[in-house]
Amino acid sequence: MSKTILVVDDSASVRQVVSMTLKSAGHKVVEAIDGDDALAKLANARFNLVVSDVNMPKLDGIRFVEAMKQRAEHRFTPVLMLTTESSADKKAEGRAVGVKAWLIKPFKPDVLLSAVSKLA
């Protein structure tokens, strides 16, 4: 079943490959370049899932999820972190703000799609 997914990453190439993977499975994708851009996109649409990087300029992924969860309409929107961060401390930060899953780059397309099907 097709889902609407918000992809947040400051790297254009990462946004490209994530979108390509999700679209090949029939999902609809909206891209954001950082946390601030993502919050603006969230204000105008509903999403079944958010896939976000952690290390981004202006507003990093952890702070973005924290701000997103304060909005009633997105409090229960699942979030998958897609990042190079593997430290236990960073994962704990993510879990504390409501992140549901953590996937370390580089990802394989089938692994990402399997996670999307479970979360969204």
Binding site: D9, S11, A12, S13, V14, Q16, V17, S19, M20, T21, K23, S24, V54, N55, L80, T84, E85, S86, S87, K91, G94, R95, V99, K100, A101, W102, L103, I104, K105, P106, F107, K108, P109, D110, V111, S114, A115, K118
Partner: protein
């Protein structure tokens, strides 16, 4: 006249050492000589003298030993003083070198920073473009090969076979109906043939009738002659003979007319027979040829569709292989993100180094050291990859972050 050379501390200590050795051995030698002189006449007083001599010699030896240790200490001290003087000179030279190095490195750091930043931005642009092109290829493949899987292709192939076999069955039914029609034509020909034979029988009968009429005519003539010979008694018979002759003539005439009609019918029947036979043969040949054409056409259609299905399967295999390769490309392209992060952190570190070098006070080495220490702390704080953390901790890049491409999702 050259000025007397000033002796170094080591040279002075060597001279002093030689003087002490001379003193010591002189004392030992004098004591031994005295002992040699006095030993032969040892008395009580001589014993005391001998004891004095031994004491003198021992004192000389002890003095020598003590002086040797003092001289050694002096040598060590002299060495330290000389080293201290050397270190002081070296320290001054080092400070000067550091100042020169800082002055030289200062302008280099921004160059390194800008070069790395420029390279990183070019790499990011190129990789983003590469990713977009692969996206286009992937999309084109998905459109070109619309079949979801092999089972759909097989289902379509079976449907096509059903259609072609239905067409074959329809053609065969038509052929069989034509065949049945041909059989009825054959039966009709047989009937016509039978009619033709009966017609011949009619011709034979009319010939016989004409012959009979001719013989009756002859008999009537003979009867008329005999009637004439009989005179008046044969008058009645002569009339009868005349009537019989008339009937014979009528019979012969009817037979001629029947023969003419039968001949006409026979001619037409023969014509029809010939045409019917010709049409029948032609139709049979056509039916045989049509059956062959039908079979060849249906078989040709099936072969073409089978070949098309094989080509579709080859394309699907190619699509699956391409999808696998594209998945590998997707994994490899993501390493650019890690590299970009590392390079961004290196750029930030170089900016800090430049700031430290620019604001460093040559007279305040502590501030320089504190800046360097803060630099390391910032490196650790900024590190966002296993590679950076591992290298900062002293591991090699291969040890810090072995390349992994099978990362799994961790659910919370």
């Amino acid at each position: 006249m050259s000025e007397p050379r000033t002796l170094s501390t080591n040279e002075r200590s060597e001279q002093l050492s030689r003087l002490v050795h001379l003193q010591a051995w002189t004392g030992i030698g004098l004591g031994t000589a005295l002992a040699g002189m006095w030993l032969p006449s040892i008395s009580a007083n001589g014993l005391y003298s001998l004891i004095a001599i031994v004491l003198f010699v021992s004192l000389g030896v002890a003095w020598s030993i003590a002086y040797r240790s003092v001289i050694a200490s002096c040598r060590i001290t002299a060495g330290r003083i000389e080293n201290g003087e050397s270190n002081s000179r070296q320290a001054n030279e080092t400070v000067a070198c550091y100042d020169e190095a800082i002055a030289s490195l200062g302008p280099l750091v921004p160059v390194w920073h800008d070069t790395i930043q420029g390279g990183r931005l070019r790499m990011e642009t190129a990789v983003a473009d590469l990713a977009a092109r692969f996206d286009s290829i992937h999309e084109a493949l998905a459109i070109a090969l619309d079949d979801p899987d092999a089972s759909a292709v097989n289902a379509r192939q079976e449907a096509i076979h059903e259609v072609t076999e239905s067409a074959r069955a329809a053609f065969i039914t038509l052929w069989e109906s034509l065949d049945a029609s041909a059989k009825r034509d054959e039966e009709a020909l047989a009937v016509i043939d039978s009619l033709s034979q009966q017609n011949q029988s009619l011709i034979t009968l009319t010939t016989e009738i004409r012959q009979i009429a001719k013989r009756i005519n002859l008999l009537s003539l003979n009867a008329a002659i005999e009637a004439t010979r009989a005179g008046d008694a044969g008058h009645g018979f002569s009339v009868v003979a005349g009537e019989v002759r008339a009937l014979a003539a009528q019979s012969a005439d009817a037979g001629d007319r029947i023969e003419a009609v039968v001949a006409g019918i026979s001619e037409e029947v023969e014509t029809v027979m010939q045409q019917a036979h010709a049409n029948f043969e032609s139709s049979r040949e056509a039916r045989r040829a049509n059956r062959t054409v039908i079979d060849q056409t249906i078989d040709g259609i099936n072969q073409r569709f089978d070949a098309l299905a094989e080509e579709t399967k080859v394309l699907m295999d190619l699509r699956d292989e391409m999808s696998h390769e594209i998945a590998g490309v997707i994994v490899r392209l993501q390493f650019q993100d890690e590299l970009s992060q590392v390079l961004t952190h290196v750029e930030a570190a170089l900016a800090e180094v430049h700031h430290i070098l620019d604001s460093a006070d040559p007279e305040d080495a502590r501030s320089f050291a504190e800046g360097a220490h803060q630099l390391l702390g910032n490196l650790k704080r900024r590190a966002s990859t296993d590679l950076e953390r591992g290298v900062i901790a002293g591991r090699t890049p291969a040890q810090a972050a072995p390349i992994q491409t099978d990362n799994q999702v961790e659910f919370f």
